[in-house]
Symmetry: C2
């Protein structure tokens, strides 16, 4: 289990997370970098970035590649899994992914922004039919009807898995793609989700085209609403509330980058990532100092 | 005078100031960049920087050159003069250098840190014998005795000028150099200043070697104590107190980089420079909106 335990878990591999990793490794900390996609999807879509000092006129894709290769050269543990839940503990935070459990003494959230608002009903029915992980929760819906709303191609595998065990699977991709190779059991719908309704449990998903009677709604975004990953984390509107040293309302948890608010800019993110890591390292030191010998 | 009036005056051309300039010019603002030395002296001394994301294993000198050429390509007005005083006004801040007057609607302080503490007595006698500018204040000491404490080679010219008009000039360089070509009127002393004493006016400078009876003490650092440049600016210990958006206690004045506190790191400085500029631009917009038509 040694490889599953870290000084610092960095959740998200955009500019903020990668900057944190670089400084953390230079300071000789064991770092787990959780990045389930191919680094910042958002930055990759930026045509040209010209205000990151020192690297003029670079494509977003080129810039994130430079960041990633710089960070990976310092040898963090790269974990290509999505963090679904974080639980504080006495000595370690526990991080759950679909298939594994990890531990870390401190956590840096660098999850970016959820670019869409939550759907009506989403928060109310979380755990009562709404789920962010088919691998985790799919079995509860065996023989039942489910909808999968997905913002990434990852959703195709998730829907495929559900197609094996559920009765009806509706797949609502919120991105452009070729869905001709989806399994026959999965019905692809070109529709925009509007709201989730039900009583004790989810009963239907309303879209701009129709009403789907379903027992479960899986929602797969690039990043999940952070308050659902780590309950009790204090927000400031839609973003994580942070102090100047990037500490959050939960001791040992720091945040950096777009998830702490605007401006959504690369240099702001890298600066905050650095700061969050140095604060996490101070926190590690103060915890060690306060331990009995 | 059109070239002496700016939307934003950026005081200091280190990583924070240069980052602010880049974003400000991209947003099409008129920017005056005040940098009297050859960009960040502090960064130039850094052997290797390896935690500025995207540019691994770079010398401090190489990094600041990349920043400077990036920023200057965007065409700010580069003013190679030291800002000695800033006065708030109704519509413009007035910035004084030794020889000129400039105006700006907003100011970003990116002056770095004063690496030495103030001398005992320095603050008490400021304006009563202590000065940061020989060109400005030298005439007050015609025929009198003065000491010049200098941390940069700039001090050699200042001492030379004083040598023409004062009776005795003691030059106390706090750096290594070749002083054999200093004018004969200037007495170079290898000593560390300790404290300034006097009554209504300065009467003597005490060093680790002797007591110098002088009427004036000129102190020339890479950057002056910022609270002396802009009186009333609220500090937090030794650094400028800032909010998350880099605003200071004075409306229209923002700060970024080392002068806002640790960590003294490049990525923190560039991120804050960006943020300060975006906040300054918002401030410009809000002022314009609140004006009568």
């Amino acid at each position: 289990m040694a490889n599953n335990r870290f000084d610092v878990a960095v959740v998200g591999g955009g500019p903020a997370g990668l900057s944190a990793v670089i400084t953390g490794r230079i300071r000789n900390k064991e770092i787990g970098l959780f990045e389930h996609l191919d680094f910042s999807q958002k930055l990759q879509k930026a045509h040209i970035v010209d205000n990151y000092p020192g690297i003029p006129q670079v494509s977003g894709k080129g810039l994130i590649q430079q960041f990633a290769s710089h960070a990976l050269a310092h040898g963090p543990a790269l974990i290509k899994e999505k963090v679904l839940n974080i639980f504080p503990g006495d000595e370690f935070f526990t991080l759950l992914t679909a298939g594994n459990t990890y531990e870390a003494k401190t956590v840096i959230l660098a999850t970016g922004v959820v670019s869409t608002l939550l759907f009506n009903g989403e928060r109310d029915f979380l755990g009562r039919g709404v789920s962010y992980c088919a691998t985790c929760d799919g079995r509860m819906f065996e023989g039942k009807d489910v909808a999968v709303i997905s913002y990434t191609t990852e959703g195709e595998n998730e829907a495929g898995f559900l197609g094996e065990i559920c009765r009806n699977v509706y797949y609502l991709p919120q991105y452009k793609g070729d869905f001709s190779k989806m399994r026959a059991e999965v019905k692809v719908l070109d529709a925009k989700p509007k709201a989730i309704f039900g009583d004790a449990q989810v009963e239907k998903l309303v879209t701009d085209k129709e009403e789907l009677k379903v027992h479960g709604v899986f929602i797969l975004r690039q990043s999940d609403p952070v308050e659902n990953i780590l309950p009790g984390l204090e927000l400031d509107g839609e973003v994580i509330k942070v102090n100047r040293d990037m500490s959050t309302s939960i001791p040992g948890v720091f945040a950096a980058g777009d998830c702490t608010g605007k401006p959504w800019q690369v240099a702001k993110a890298t600066g905050e990532g650095l700061m969050a890591m140095l604060s996490a390292i101070s926190y590690l030191g103060s915890k060690r100092d306060s331990k009995p010998e």
